[in-house]
Amino acid sequence: MSKVLSVKDLRKEYGDTIAVDSISFDVDRGEIVGLLGPNGAGKTTTINMILGVLEPSAGTIHIEGLDITTHRSQAIERTNFAAVYAPLPGNLTVFQNLRIFGLIYGVKNLSERIEALLKQFSLDAFRDVKCGVLSSGEQTRVCLAKAMLNSPHLLLLDEPTASLDPAKARDIRARIREFAGNGAGGVLWTSHNMYEIEEVCDRVLFLSKGKILLEGDPKALRSDYGKMTLEDLFIAVADEPTALGHE
């Protein structure tokens, strides 16, 4: 499998505060990697640096071999994201938002692509509805449709199912798995839902205080550390990272 994302010695400091502390990891094509950690662990900071909206203090980020610092536009063309804290403008309709972002991402056959995504994410009925009046779950689906517009090679999802009901969340998980399974791209996924992470992710990275403490297959990790569930492992890492033998 080829790498779609390669992060090396990535660091972000805000004055004396170290938000991300020299982390390195890769995401392969067709792979879903979970980025886990307690609030303030540095997950969103990492994602923002990969998206090019936050400058790292040190380290490099390559998307399909393109350095985000020197080839930003070309690298970001292959990327997309959906985050619970970044809803699309509420004063535009679902179709208008998708059209505008489709133009920005240079999507070919945009009209057909939008129609396909509206169907795929069950948004047909909301095509001409302003995003601001949609429920949070519907807005999340619009964000996911936007994230899929350019068939990204690297998909960044920051708590993508946080406001979805269980049925819709399961449906979205299946779609993301399908996306990765096709081998078109890799996914970096953050979530606080450990059951979801265990179901979806091929590999997880446990982040605490800006450092990667654990890395591996989510099912194997919990047994390796003698925990019943991934959630137990998460709590152990969040509460006492040193108990796992890491500083």
């Binding site: 805000y14 969103t44 900071t45 923002n48 998206l51 090019g52 909206v53 936050l54 400058e55 930003r72 536009s73 070309q74 970001i76 063309e77 994201f81 985050a83 804290y85 970044a86 809803p87 699309l88 403008p89 509420g90 004063n91 535009l92 309709t93 208008q96 059209r99 505008i100 972002f101 133009l103 920005i104 991402y105 240079g106 936007k146």
Partner: protein, 268 residues
């Protein structure tokens, strides 16, 4: 390399927003129309009380029209930028392949469209209702409009940079800026009436050359080409400086994380 399709997405966004929003369409022409009507009647009144036979219409009403055009251009850029502030869209918009040059180009293209609406309304009202003759300015009118357009663009980009740097609340610094500049550029009076220290600033502002030139033409003379060249060169220089300032501010916002957490206003 500049991708105009990406820049056009910013224009399309503004078109979508205007299509369903009278609150956005009305200001394009309502305030300039009110200004023209108000100053139209004032000039008519002045023409009746001053016995010298001096025609105030091309001097005062013409000046109002030109200055309002400059303000509209500035607000065209700033308002398009503020749409991203109001809808908290920075993260979505700047996490795309859109470059800063393409984004600013989109804002400028939007401003060209919106300011033209205001200009047309002002011209129709001023000529049909108050008898302003554009022939009074001759071909120089196009140069006047060009210099004011360039200055308005520069001002709009700087104001957008200011809001990006200091947060959403600094929007309120933006709106009075034309009013602060107007005494220095001599919209209604020759620069010679200003105290010397104000005149120094006036000579640094490109609209000053437009209004001085306009008055020269109205009084039967000609506006020296060097004067307008000076005004035009200054305006071009201001655009380059404005783009540099915006790029610097954006880079600062990316370095500090302000783009991702813009509602926090400042992270320093």
């Amino acid at each position: 390399m500049m991708n105009l399709t990406r820049a056009s997405a910013i224009v399309l966004r503004q078109c979508y927003l205007m299509r369903g929003s009278p609150a956005r369409v009305l200001p394009l022409f309502a305030w300039v129309a009110i200004d023209v009507v108000l100053w139209g009647f004032i000039t008519r009144y002045f023409n009746t009380v001053v016995s010298s036979g001096f025609n105030f219409v091309p001097t005062l009403l013409g000046a109002v029209l030109l200055w309002d055009f400059c303000i509209r251009v500035m607000q065209g850029v700033t308002t398009a930028f503020l749409e991203d502030v109001w809808s908290r869209n920075f993260l979505n918009i700047f996490a795309t392949p859109l470059s800063i040059a393409e984004y600013v180009t989109g804002l400028v293209l939007t401003s060209i469209a919106t300011s033209c609406v205001g200009l047309i309304v002002m011209l129709v009202l001023a000529t049909t209702v108050f008898g302003l003759s554009l022939f009074d300015y001759g071909l120089m009118l196009f140069l006047f409009l060009l210099v004011l357009f360039l200055f308005g663009i520069a001002l709009g980009i700087v104001c957008s940079a200011m809001v990006l740097r200091f947060g959403p609340a600094s929007e309120w610094f933006v709106w009075p800026i034309p009013a602060i500049i107007s005494p220095f550029v001599g919209v209604f009076y020759p620069l010679s009436v200003l105290p010397e220290w104000m005149q120094y600033f006036s000579h640094l502002l490109s609209p000053s050359y437009v209004f001085e030139g306009m008055r020269m033409i109205i009084s039967g003379g000609t506006a020296p080409k060097t004067m307008l060249l000076c005004g035009g060169s200054l305006a071009v220089m201001y655009i380059l400086i404005a783009c540099w300032v915006f790029a610097r501010v954006y880079r600062h916002a990316v370095r500090t994380g302000l783009i991702a957490r813009y509602s926090a206003e400042t992270l320093s």
